[in-house]
């Protein structure tokens, strides 16, 4: 077991000499670094009444015992984050003593150890079980640290299986895909015909004597010429038609598979819990949905005109070359390794330099954007010269990185051209000799029968052979990129939905809005609880205010209530039912949230207000907007409710956005309304309007309001005061003021601050 590892024999012996029996330890775990920040195996042993850390004696003159503490002397334990690692500290005699250090590779393990030590210090029953070995952040097969619990291990993922899954995605379009592949084969077959026709043209019509063919009479020659040119035209035409159909089919299948994948990924993303979005930034996910799914289209393209087609062409043309003349076939292959090596060199060494150019371009755009967007600040501080210099550095970075690439490419391209020509030159020389000898010394010539037409045919195939050879060197690079991108997409699809609806979930047809938190503990990171044993009740229709310092757990309470996150311990009840047992749609229907930063979508104001209730009538929408004090400003827009607003409500002021979001919540008409700092980001005049609106919206509705401005909560039925994840005070405003605790202190601070003249207040007064 990870938390009960065997102590090395020699250390055990040394420890016994110190009077400590290691067999009594109920916890023995090895850390990787010592308290000097150097790699050294150090063992933490916890016995019933003492704790020791043990290391090999000798280093820095230290003995076997590094730390030795009695339980009775320890008041508490904590973990402390360093840079690249962390510490377990013990509070001894009023001083935090460093017990051990660990690198970040073992952070999860030692967070678990710290949890055990806390219980041990408090004399609680504690033990080590096999369950403790489970670490959802580590791959159970290879031990690689995963990005988040339940993530797919990239090391262990079966890449072949990824390929199979991609092919399975094409199953609905199997018929079209088979036709497409048949057309690809036909296209390759047809591409071989023109070379054969050219050979006939030369050997039969244009220079029959060099092939020892009877000369045609002029009329016959004209007919042959016309026929062969016509056949050439027909072949090219057929090739073009097949190419067109292949392209259309490829495009259809590719775009359709990409479309299917995008839809599946987005459907899954919308089902994943909010915690998933804490782990990934939106930019990353956008790249996955937009970019990685597009790789599917690239895959189909590779089948039709990319690597698969080229591979087939390489084999077929190679076979043709050898069947025409194996010796020339061999000469054709001579420069092939060079072509291959040169292409490998290009993709491995030169191509990555393009990344630097892209990076340089994006940095230049970033710099330019900053300078031009902030031009007022630049001018105000007289920093034009400095910004010009800064831009100069970015610009020089592009110049230098572009030169680096272009100088190399300009040398590389002629070099690779020479290699390609080399094969042609060998074939010209050897094949040309055979043609000459056969022509000039037909009686003495004992070499292969070789005509000018055959030579031209071989040269034609040669270029068809080298082309795919160069491209195929990118196959591994493309394959890695494709499999990685596809795997990233599958990772999303494979991410289990953590917050799922219970079987036989309870319906809430007529919710009353009674809420109860029972001994709730929760942390976004399990090792750092945000809520600690929180219990309280809210009656239907009651107004509950929540106050506390930033980070005290106020918003977390509401996140738990809406079941955006699952509690670690305890339970949350809505109308007497555990929220985990309630139908999710009913639960979300019960709880409406107005956030500090209202989120509006691109679209009309009407569409935003009806976001939660698409069936609302215009009368209901206007009534909601009126109640939210939004109607008047909406009507000032020329297009009224049909006014289009941009992303995140661009085009509206902060206060206007908030009032639209209140109208949205009002139309949704939830029995429980959560107001999370709903007025903290708006000016005083807007706040007044919003407060009036909220007074109407919250009447008779269970309301939980979080606010920093305590004056807005003064009229709440009850106020909960939170500190460090715990409820420290609860009561009415008057009761809490009499209590003289944290709430009283916060009110006092705000009263003193509000004596300062406010610009907002002056503006409002000026308007009166």
């Amino acid at each position: 077991m990870l938390l009960n590892q065997p102590l090395p024999e020699d250390l055990g012996g040394l420890l016994r000499k110190e009077g400590i029996d290691p067999n009594l330890a109920w916890l023995c775990v090895q850390t990787d670094i010592n308290l000097s920040g150097l790699y050294e195996p150090i063992y933490l042993l916890v016995l019933p009444e003492r704790l020791t850390t043990v290391g090999q004696p000798g280093s820095n003159g230290q003995g076997v015992l590094r730390i030795d503490l009695k339980r009775a002397d320890i008041k508490e334990f904590r973990t402390r984050q360093g840079v690249g690692g962390g510490f377990i500290d013990a509070l001894v005699d009023g001083v935090y003593v460093e017990v051990l250090a660990y690198s970040n590779a073992r952070a999860d393990l030692f967070h678990k150890v710290a949890g055990k030590l806390k219980d041990w210090a408090e004399n609680k029953e504690v033990s080590v079980t096999a369950e403790d070995d489970k670490n959802p952040r580590k791959c159970p097969v290879c031990g690689l640290t995963l990005e988040f619990p339940g993530d797919v291990c990239r090391r262990c993922v079966n890449r072949g299986a990824v390929f199979v899954r991609v092919l399975k995605l094409m199953r609905p379009y199997a018929g079209k895909a088979i036709i497409m592949m048949c057309l690809v084969l036909a296209s390759i077959g047809i591409s071989l015909i023109p070379q054969h026709l050219v050979r006939l043209l030369i050997d039969k019509v244009l220079a029959p004597e060099q092939a020892h063919n009877p000369a045609l009479d002029p009329e016959q020659a004209k007919r042959w010429l016309l026929g062969l040119v016509g056949a050439l035209f027909g072949t090219h035409l057929l090739g073009a038609v097949i190419g067109m159909f292949t392209g259309r089919l490829g495009s259809f299948v590719g775009t359709q598979v990409s479309y299917d994948m995008r839809s599946r990924v987005l459907n899954h993303l919308t089902r994943l819990e909010v915690a998933y979005y804490d782990r990934y930034n939106v930019g990353q996910l956008m790249a996955r949905v937009a970019g990685d799914t597009e790789q599917m289209r690239g895959f189909v393209h590779q089948l039709t005109s990319g690597f698969l087609a080229q591979l087939i062409q390489l084999v077929v043309v190679g076979a043709m070359l050898f069947s025409l003349n194996w010796r020339l076939g061999f000469f054709t292959l001579l420069p092939a390794p060079l072509v291959f090596l040169a292409a490998m060199f290009f993709w491995k060494r030169i191509y990555p330099r393009f990344y630097r150019v892209w990076d340089a371009n994006s940095k230049l755009h970033g710099t330019l954007n900053t300078i031009l967007s902030g031009i007022r600040v630049v001018k105000a501080f007289g920093q034009e010269r400095k910004e010009q210099d800064r831009f100069g550095v970015s610009s020089a970075y592009i110049r230098d990185s572009s030169r680096g690439v272009e100088y190399t490419v300009s040398a590389f391209n002629p070099a690779i051209g020479i290699i390609f020509q080399l094969g042609g030159l060998i074939v010209w020389y050897v094949g040309g000799q055979w043609v000459l000898q056969d022509k000039l010394l037909p009686g003495d010539y004992s070499g292969p029968r070789f005509t000018l037409g055959m030579l031209m045919q071989v040269l034609g195939y040669l270029w068809m052979f080298y082309g795919p050879l160069g491209s195929l060197t990118q196959l591994t690079s493309w394959l890695t990129q494709f499999l990685t991108a596809t795997q990233r997409t599958f990772e999303i699809l494979d991410t289990p939905v953590q917050i799922v609806e219970a079987k036989d979930a309870k319906r809430l047809p007529a919710p009353r809005g009674a809420i109860a938190f029972e001994n709730v503990a929760f942390g976004y990171n399990r090792h750092e609880p945000i809520l600690k044993n929180v219990s309280f009740e809210v009656r239907p229709g009651e107004h509950l205010g929540i106050v506390g310092k930033s980070g005290s757990g106020k918003t977390t309470l509401t996140n738990i209530l809406a079941r955006f996150y699952e509690v670690d311990e305890g339970r949350v009840l809505l109308d007497g039912a555990d929220v985990r047992e309630i139908n999710l749609a009913d639960l979300r229907r019960c709880v409406g949230i107005v956030l500090q930063e209202p989120f509006l979508f691109r679209g009309t104001i009407y569409a935003n207000i009806t976001y939660g209730r698409r069936d609302a009538t215009p009368e209901e929408v206007m009534a909601a907007a009126k109640a939210a004090n939004a109607h008047d400003f909406i009507m000032h827009h020329p297009l009224g409710y049909d006014t289009y607003i941009g992303e995140r409500g661009a085009g509206l002021s902060g206060g206007e956005r908030q009032r639209v979001s209140i109208a949205r919540a009002l139309l949704y008409d939830p029995p429980v309304l959560v107001l999370d700092e709903a007025t903290s980001n708006v000016d005083t005049e807007s706040e007044q309007l919003i407060q009036q609106a909220l007074a109407r919206v919250t009447a008779g509705r269970t309301t939980i309001a979080i606010a920093h401005r305590l004056s807005t909560l003064k009229n709440s039925d009850r106020i909960v005061v939170m500190d460090d994840g715990r409820i420290v005070e609860m009561g009415t405003h008057e009761e809490l003021m009499v209590l003289g605790g944290l709430y009283h202190r916060l009110v006092k601070i705000q009263t003193e601050l509000s004596r300062e003249p406010s610009v907002d207040a002056l503006v409002v007064e000026g308007k009166k």
Binding site: T145, K348, P352, D724
Partner: protein, 183 residues
């Protein structure tokens, strides 16, 4: 003089002002169980102190904060050492040791190999703490700038590997690195 009461009882210096610690006003020493202590003249002894850089890149030997934990996640800054070299060597060494403990960073001395493996960048390197091999995600935030010309690589476990100055790498190693870490 050490406060043996509850940690919450501690009252620190004025939190609105930066206080520079000088050798004349304070002494740095070890207390029980090897905990770092700082005695500030006419004030008190602070136990269980740790050190943190204010400018780890620009001034690695200057502007070092000494911080005292008062419990329940609260820390107070005792003051800032303007220049560690002004302190007696024994005191300065204790601070340097405390910094070495807090900043567990491998300094790369030789980049043995770098490649693409399992969808990660796989790195093998020699460091001041011995040879290492690690996997890192190919993302901008996993190789961050360190001063003008340095980089800090962050592996899947959040361990840190410092290349103080890319220009000091041999050309071959730099080219290998920039094939992947091109930003």
């Amino acid at each position: 003089m050490t406060d043996r009461g509850t940690p919450e009882a501690v009252i620190g210096p004025d939190p609105t002002k930066v206080r520079f610690l000088t050798p004349h006003m304070c002494r740095i020493h070890l207390g029980s169980h090897g905990a770092l202590h700082v005695t500030v003249a006419n004030e008190r002894i602070y136990g269980g102190v740790y050190a943190a850089y204010a400018f780890p890149v620009a001034y690695p030997d200057k502007y070092i904060a000494l911080i005292h934990s008062v419990g329940r996640g609260r820390d107070i800054e005792i003051g800032i050492i303007h220049d560690l070299n002004e302190f007696p060597p024994a005191d300065a060494d204790l601070v340097r040791e405390a910094l070495a403990r807090r900043y567990f960073v491998h300094t790369i001395t030789k980049l043995t190999s770098i490649g693409w493996k399992y969808g990660f960048i796989a790195v093998e390197a020699e460091t001041d703490k011995g040879p290492v091999d690690f996997l890192m995600r190919w993302q901008y935030d996993r190789a961050v700038d360190y001063g003008q010309d340095g980089k800090v690589l962050i592996d899947v476990d959040e361990n840190r590997y410092l290349i103080p100055d890319l220009r000091q790498l041999p050309p071959g190693e730099l080219a290998d690195l920039q094939r992947y870490i091109y930003w």
